[in-house]
């Protein structure tokens, strides 16, 4: 294992594809493929918060799950701390999983209703055979305390908790193994706004206290750019723009990012520029358009966009965009 040096990525993805077969008929023949993740390259640096944003069906959750091998990639290479993890098996997979933990969106369905909160939080320790039962219990109480859950909750069941408490249980469960990378898939989108900000603040505190790296997946660009250092915008299985949060907000280059920014309902709406309202809907990932996937909804599409697929090109300062006419559409 290499020693952690900054700028050596913690997680690295090269040409990652994840296609789901669509089977039909008596013989369950593969009649089509859902191209959920369609060739993604990215690097997540140690201690950074990397945001992944896009609308439903863009492949962001599939990508998150594929990166930690909750799903097997169709092809491509994934490296964690420099080690290729795509072909690891059995015990090896379990070893790296200890360092990559997941926080799910829906805490109501991702927590076992027949286990107490204490058992749920300590379960990772049990799976990895760490400590005695008593040590595991006290470790669970300690981490629960860190996320703002009192010891009295340890004997309660998930269905007795509020949504905000359940999300904290999900966070405690992920952190009990002291992972290096935490993948949070829409961790606040099922929460009310007053609870949402409590949980976002908690995630920021924990990042500093435990030296965590986050992959933060969400559909809300305002939330993602608030918490993430760098953000990748996905559309139909591909990353269309990648930049620091500041650059993305001040100088969005892809017409999709511009429209996404403009579509967010904002309490300061009165002060904002004219809205861009995209026509049409997201095409099916079973049959994405030729050329640029976004061209069917793009306000500035040209003939070339239907013929040649734009690749993700760096425009300097770590700002990359996949568009034939980057920066020419401003709403």
């Amino acid at each position: 294992m290499t020693s952690p040096v900054t700028n050596v990525p913690l997680l690295e993805a090269r040409s990652v594809y994840k296609h789901f077969p669509v089977r039909r008929g008596l013989l369950q023949r593969v009649v089509a493929k859902v191209r959920a993740v369609d060739g993604v390259d990215l690097e997540i640096l140690p201690l950074e918060t990397f945001g992944l944003v896009g609308e439903s069906g863009c492949g962001k959750s599939t990508l998150g799950r594929t990166l930690v091998r909750l799903l097997e990639p169709t092809s491509g290479e994934i490296r964690f701390q420099g080690e290729a993890i795509t072909r690891l098996q059995g015990r090896e997979t379990k070893r790296i999983r200890r360092d990559m933990q997941f926080i799910f969106q829906d805490s109501a369905t991702s927590l076992n209703p027949r286990k107490t909160i204490g058992e749920i939080v300590a379960e990772g320790l049990l799976i990895h055979n760490i400590g005695t039962a008593r040590e595991r219990h006290s470790r669970a109480l300690e981490i629960m305390n860190r996320v703002g859950l009192g010891p009295a909750l340890a004997d309660r069941y998930p269905q007795e908790c509020s949504g905000g408490q359940r999300q904290r249980v999900g966070i405690a469960r992920a952190l009990v193994l002291e992972p290096k990378l935490v993948i949070a898939d829409e961790p606040v989108s099922s929460l009310d706004v007053s609870i949402q900000s409590q949980v976002l603040n908690l995630l920021v505190d924990l990042r500093q206290r435990f030296g965590l790296t986050y992959l933060f997946i969400a559909h809300n660009l305002a939330v993602v750019t608030y918490i993430a250092d760098r953000v990748a915008v996905m559309y139909l299985g591909k990353v269309v723009e990648l930049a620091t949060s500041e650059d993305l907000l001040l100088n969005p280059l892809h017409p999709y990012t511009v429209s996404l920014l403009s579509a967010i309902p904002d309490v300061m709406a009165a002060r904002r520029r004219k809205r861009v309202i995209l026509a049409g809907e997201i095409p099916s990932p079973m049959s994405p358009p030729s050329g640029c996937h976004f061209r069917t909804r793009c306000p500035i599409a040209q003939p070339i966009c239907a013929e040649v697929e734009p690749t993700l090109v760096s425009g300097g300062r770590g700002h990359s965009v996949a568009c034939h006419f980057p920066g020419t559409f401003s709403g």
Binding site: D192, N201, L249, I264
Partner: protein, 341 residues
């Protein structure tokens, strides 16, 4: 409220003393909405905002008397819609009101659209349920409605079943059904919560356009203050079964008087905010409606709460055409303040 009397002609909806309670398994009654008042002028848009469990959806449902047992609308409640008190109508009379006077759309189109019938069929059946027209006329009207809500190629989509359409298209079908009889009021309960942000923008633009094209008033129920900012003329904020603040949208958003409204506005991440700063948040959680705190319901979470707040509950204190249910607003020097009961 005296000042609003002069606007009586333009008033479409007036809710008075609306209380809705639910019987619980423990034999107690949970008061989901506690004595609220609301008015809506013709052709205007009112946003009713709050977090889950605050009573906003129950309010929407009780307008059209859609509250089902164990829910019960209080005896003193009055819902005046276009000059008629809906709480006094028979089920038959109510059915006649629901098409031409008020239509309703929900967050999840599948709750209002039947999966067994084509979408075109459902729109034309709605027209025929309220008007004596031939099948051919109803079909023509349904096609017109489909193009009004911008469903592309209505002729082709008329015979589609709901599952053949995307979420955004199904939401358009539901809007077409709701406005089929040209209602004076459209009640929209979280109409875009299940949709993606670019599709949400399309639906909100459609609703705003329909208001101007059809001169229809809209009551939009949402948890998102951003949606209200973009389209509503007036806004009412609900917390734990009460309206805590209301007024013209710009005034409430720019100068919120109630600490809850202030907290809500501050705790939403907005584009381009300072990333170094912590998000201001409202501590604690919404109170249990069975076990409400004494005094102001927001006091246990309020940073500005003082003695009086924990003893006596503030009612909506009127400040010209806006109001806030907060003792902080009751400045003794302010002339003409009135406490509404």
């Amino acid at each position: 409220m005296m000042s609003q009397r002069s606007d009586f002609d333009s008033e479409l909806l007036r809710i008075e003393h609306l209380t809705v309670s639910f019987a619980t398994s423990g034999g107690r009654r949970l008061v989901a909405i506690d004595d609220i008042e609301l008015t809506l002028s013709r052709g205007s848009i009112l946003g009713l905002v709050g977090e889950s469990g605050c009573g906003k959806s129950v309010t929407a449902r009780s307008i059209l008397q859609l509250v089902k047992p164990p829910g019960r609308i209080g005896a003193a409640s009055r819902i005046w819609l276009d000059g008629r008190d809906l709480t006094r109508l028979s089920p038959d009379e109510l059915r006649r009101v629901r098409g031409p006077i008020a239509g309703m759309i929900f967050q999840e189109p599948s709750t209002a659209i039947n999966p067994m019938y084509t979408v075109g069929n459902q729109i034309s059946e709605t027209i025929r349920a309220h008007e004596r027209v031939s099948g051919r006329v109803a079909r023509t009207r349904a096609l017109e409605l489909m193009s009004l809500v911008r469903i592309p190629a209505p002729n082709r989509r008329y015979d589609d079943f709901p599952h053949q359409m995307s979420g955004g298209m199904r939401q358009r079908v539901m809007i077409a059904i709701a406005i089929a009889c040209h209602p004076k009021l459209l009640i929209a309960d979280e109409p875009t919560t299940a949709l993606d942000v670019t599709i949400q923008a399309q639906i909100l633009e459609l609703l705003t356009n329909l208001r101007s094209q059809l001169g229809m008033a809209i009551l939009i129920i949402t948890h998102d203050l951003g949606i209200v900012a973009g389209m509503a003329d007036r806004v009412a904020i609900m917390y734990a079964g009460r309206i805590v603040e209301q007024g013209r949208t710009e005034e409430v958003l720019q100068d919120p008087k109630h600490p809850y409204t202030q907290g809500l506005l501050k705790s939403v991440p907005v584009l381009g905010m300072d990333r170094g700063a912590r998000l201001p948040s409202i501590p604690g959680t919404v109170p249990n409606l069975i076990d409400l705190p004494p005094g102001c319901r927001f006091a246990p979470r309020c940073a500005s709460a003082f003695e009086k707040c924990r003893i006596e509950e503030p009612r909506l204190i009127q400040l010209s055409d806006r109001g806030a249910a907060c003792w902080l607003c009751e400045l003794p020097t302010r002339p003409g303040t009135a406490v509404l009961g």
